[in-house]
Symmetry: C2
Subunit: 606 residues, 2 copies
């Protein structure tokens, strides 16, 4: 039943060598890895305008130089990550680059920051997608949390099916969104060029505005930079690309940079040209679209695919989180289970853990995740900075021919992303202070896990030359409750292994004890019977005491094995009809004793 | 932690021989066993009046002859159950008497009916108690279900502490209630005798009333009979009495009968004398009390203890259900776990199961259990009837000297309770039809369980004379993942038991397989290494296949044992850091194979 349901939902298991077939072409990779970055176009310009409007409509023209600055930063990031891809062809996320060049602790800061960030991405995107749905269908408003969780569930199943399948499905909305935005930019540009647009608000370019300060400009710039989250996804995911992986990844990154940059600056220019100011109940994109095309079919097409892409931004995290978790687990900073590929060759555990943690975040916040956005942005820019710093160190150390140019690119990138991180910290401290709790906690967990694995390796390491197996004697203890086929079966088995077998009976009163002793003598199975008396009607406690004694007496020379019979019933409900003494006994023995436990199944025929 | 909490809530474990100390004196038994019956006084008269008032106030005088008829039935029931107590000194509930005289199926009808009934009792009483609380404190009205469940939880803990302790606590409200009702009857009688009462409604005794029919009189009578539920509790619980158990039980029953009868007829007479008609928002008892004493301290005392006793009625079920379940389990109609005495010598499993089922009933019905009351009444009168019929059969079969008198008593009792059952069926079919689903279901479950236990006994039975243990050879299979101390430990252990040991390694690719083979040769532990290749990254599946093959080849001559190492970590969270392959392997092996599983603990030091 469970197996069938699983097959239906995620498909048949795949062989390991099919991994190569699961690799992504450039077009598919762009769909899977860029939805987070591209979706930022839907709100990037608006974030800038929201800061500027506080100084009045006249200040809105600043959005143009700020957008150009963001575009510059995007260029630097893309170029710099392109360098990283070639330098780390087996996957060069911020974690790897920082670890490799700046030491493991710095790597963990970058890695931990990104992990937390991916969880935030999923929670924020699913909530944003839900808001889009509930705005359209207000009756669903009371079920926001349930809808967001259903969305996460859908993405989880899609990703468990494997990356190529999810890529095939995701390509459609991602490319439709790109088409929609270009239709908007071209249509809007045409309308403006042909003079069909009446500027709603006068905001002459270059006019000095009263009250403008560096602080506000920086705040607007840093808000605009939230459009750049998701750019690092490609460099993390190089192993998912078809060979030549690094070249394909680099090309995909460039494609993404060009598309993202064009869409972002296009929207910003249109917003300025149309004199659009941010409104509480209508997005900037919606305003441009309705001004350009009216509220017709084109408008609704643009709005629908925008909602879709906002929701799909979460999918970037579903591609990136399991890979990062895999890398951290390979370095023994996360549990081993994140290194295991599932039935469909994805890192299923990473996918499932991401889904659970983001669902918890949604439940805890009641689906109201807006306050998490700044946290999410700083969680991206910290690893950006560390990654660039790592690359700088690398150029200085290796000094390959012509290293000055890439070093300069990385230095500019590092300084810019560092500045943005600091601006975030200063301008939005009330919303990002949680990072100072999250990050140290995550890093402490990483280190604890690593310590445990290292201790374990030390403990388990063996000197092949000298340490060989050394057999000892063996005592087998069989708890018996009467004389039945089960007991006969157990004794037969024990006698096959050793001559030193002892049966133990726990009685509650003299009568039953005497009866058992008499019957045992009569049966005479060739095994000594030890009788214990229980005052508290517990079978397990006197048994444990007896086993303690046996162990204490013989542990030096013998292995002590306790033989526990286990009924295997035909129907599951029959299990309810048996005192689960054997389960209890096993649990106790595991917890306290160093004895071995042999479970002898007794399969009931009826 | 858990142990400490348990000790705090239910007290220290008690030795088996302390069972005698847990026996009940007559006064305590009355408190534990009569709360259900006595609490009926609070609503019995009212039930009669509610039927009569449909014909107008003039019909209310019929409550007197009807009450006398109920009193007559009470006398018959008490006398008849007194006979049962002496006939079945080890506990003669309806189940035992019916089973013993009328066959096992009839016994199961009686037993099943009572079991369902006890669950209803708890649900109905807890809801009634909750209603009393929320009437006083309306702000709690939205939390009715939670309050009712808290009440059940309190009763559960009280009963898990043991019956003498719960009796000591329960004596107070039960006896306060008796005192309160007698104060009411004496005070009310005095007021009436001294002529201080003005009759509110004229209802002259003996006046013919238009529209009166036998149907209505019977309906009123059967409603009044709901006051008799709980009378059978004493005869079920004889084993809980101090010796001489049957004499003490008989005396307790008589005491209960006298108190119940006096209180019931007293309330009925007062209600008539005061000309009280039932009101929607005030109980009959409350009307009498306020007419007699005004709304002063005496009035509130009476109301408070009435609410308390209504709630405590549930406790009778907590005493009776586990005992009945024990008897059914002893006869193998219910799971064995109901025969086990807990730490405090009560049948804890019965107590807990009753609590859970009644809590579910409350949750399902949303705390609105009024509709269950008729179901609950018929669930009592069916076993009443069967019990009496059983006694009749007994007298006829045994014919002891002077059997005619007790036979007559039982015959009258049987005919009366049968009639009442039929009246319930006819007059309240819409509310009691569920019994035709519940009862057959419960009986079918009983029979299924019995069948399983009988099959099991057949299967496990052994011929002591001829069937002796017969040792065979032994093969031990050790799954290995590398060469570590764990593997060395496992091989040492296996070699202590047999010479036929084989290690199995599951590899995912050629490289790791070759490396393992080379290293194994170098180590040379004296055990052959078998190498399997897994295409689906599953370790368990290839292993299972291999074990299948080994079993198929050797099962006739050898026991096959799979040796599974189990890490015992120092901190519980460390368990998360290990692939739980051994758990998974064990689960698979249990489900499908007849191999033995030896778990070798490896205790990690750090």
């Amino acid at each position: 039943m469970v197996t069938k349901l699983k097959r239906f939902l995620i498909g048949r298991p795949m062989k390991s060598h099919q991994l190569a077939e699961e690799k992504l072409s450039k077009l598919k990779a762009l769909a899977v890895l860029s939805s987070d970055a591209l979706s930022s176009v839907a709100y990037g310009t608006e974030q800038i305008l929201l800061v500027l409007i506080t100084l009045g409509a006249a200040a809105l023209w600043y959005s143009i130089p700020i957008s150009i600055a963001v575009l510059g930063l995007l260029t630097i990031l893309v170029l710099s990550y392109r360098q990283t891809i070639y330098a780390y062809p087996s996957g060069g996320g911020a974690y790897i680059v920082a670890k490799d060049n700046l030491g493991i602790s710095t790597g963990l800061v970058a890695g931990g920051s990104l992990l937390v960030d991916y969880i935030l991405t999923v929670a924020v995107s699913a909530s944003a997608g839900t808001d889009a749905i509930t705005s359209a269908i207000p009756i669903l408003h009371d079920h926001r949390v349930a809808i967001a969780i259903l969305m996460i569930l859908a993405l989880t199943l899609l990703n468990l099916r494997g990356i190529t399948e999810s890529a095939s499905i995701l390509m459609i909305p991602v490319y439709l969104f790109v088409v929609a935005v270009f239709i908007l930019i071209i249509g809007g540009g045409y309308q403006w060029a042909t003079g069909h647009v009446q500027q709603a608000i006068p905001s002459t370019y270059g006019t000095a505005v009263h009250g403008i300060t560096l602080f506000i400009l920086l705040k607007a710039f840093s808000s605009g930079c939230s459009a750049l989250t998701g750019v690092e996804a490609v460099s993390n995911a190089i192993p998912n690309f078809k060979t030549p992986a690094e070249r394909n990844a680099a090309k995909t990154l460039m494609m993404m940079g060009v598309i993202l940059g064009t869409m972002f600056i296009g929207i910003s220019l249109l917003a300025y040209a149309y004199g659009i100011a941010p409104k509480a109940n209508e997005t900037v994109v919606s305003q441009i679209a309705s001004a350009t095309f009216g509220r017709g079919i084109v408008y609704y097409f643009i709005q629908t695919v925008t909602a879709a892409i906002l929701f799909l931004a979460a999918n970037t995290a579903f591609a990136a989180f399991p890979l990062l978790a895999f890398m951290l687990a390979k370095d023994r900073f996360m549990p081993n289970m994140f290194t295991v590929r599932g039935d469909r060759l994805g890192f299923s555990n990473g996918i499932i853990v991401l889904a659970i943690l983001s669902a918890i975040l949604i439940i805890v916040s009641g689906g109201d995740t807006e306050n998490l956005i700044p946290l999410y942005a700083i969680g991206v820019f910290v690893p950006f900075t560390l990654s660039q710093a790592g690359m700088m160190k690398r150029w200085i150390t290796k000094k390959p021919t012509g290293w000055i140019v890439p070093f300069t690119i990385n230095t500019i990138g590092m300084l810019t992303t560092l500045t943005i991180s600091l601006i975030f910290l200063v301008t939005k401290f009330s919303q990002v202070w949680l990072i100072f709790i999250f990050l140290p906690t995550v890093i402490m967990i990483f280190k604890k896990i690593n310590q445990h694995y290292r201790d374990l390796a030390d403990e388990l390491r063996i000197d092949i030359a000298t340490e060989k197996p050394a057999p000892k004697g063996s005592v087998i203890v069989i708890p018996v409750a009467g004389i039945t086929q089960v007991v006969r079966n157990s004794i037969s088995y024990a006698q096959s292994l050793t001559d030193d077998v002892v049966a133990v009976y726990v009685g509650f009163d003299d009568e039953s004890i005497k009866k058992m002793q008499r019957k045992w003598e009569e049966w005479n199975p060739g095994v000594r019977l030890i009788v214990l008396r229980s005052h508290y009607r517990s079978i397990v406690r006197p048994l444990m005491k007896f086993i303690d004694t046996v162990e204490w007496k013989t542990a030096a020379t013998d292995h002590v094995t306790v033989l526990v019979p286990q009924f295997i019933t035909k129907s599951r409900w029959h299990n309810l009809l048996h005192n689960q003494t054997s389960l209890l006994l096993r649990a106790y023995l595991f917890a306290r004793q160093d004895v071995k436990i042999a479970t002898v199944p007794y399969r009931l025929k009826k």
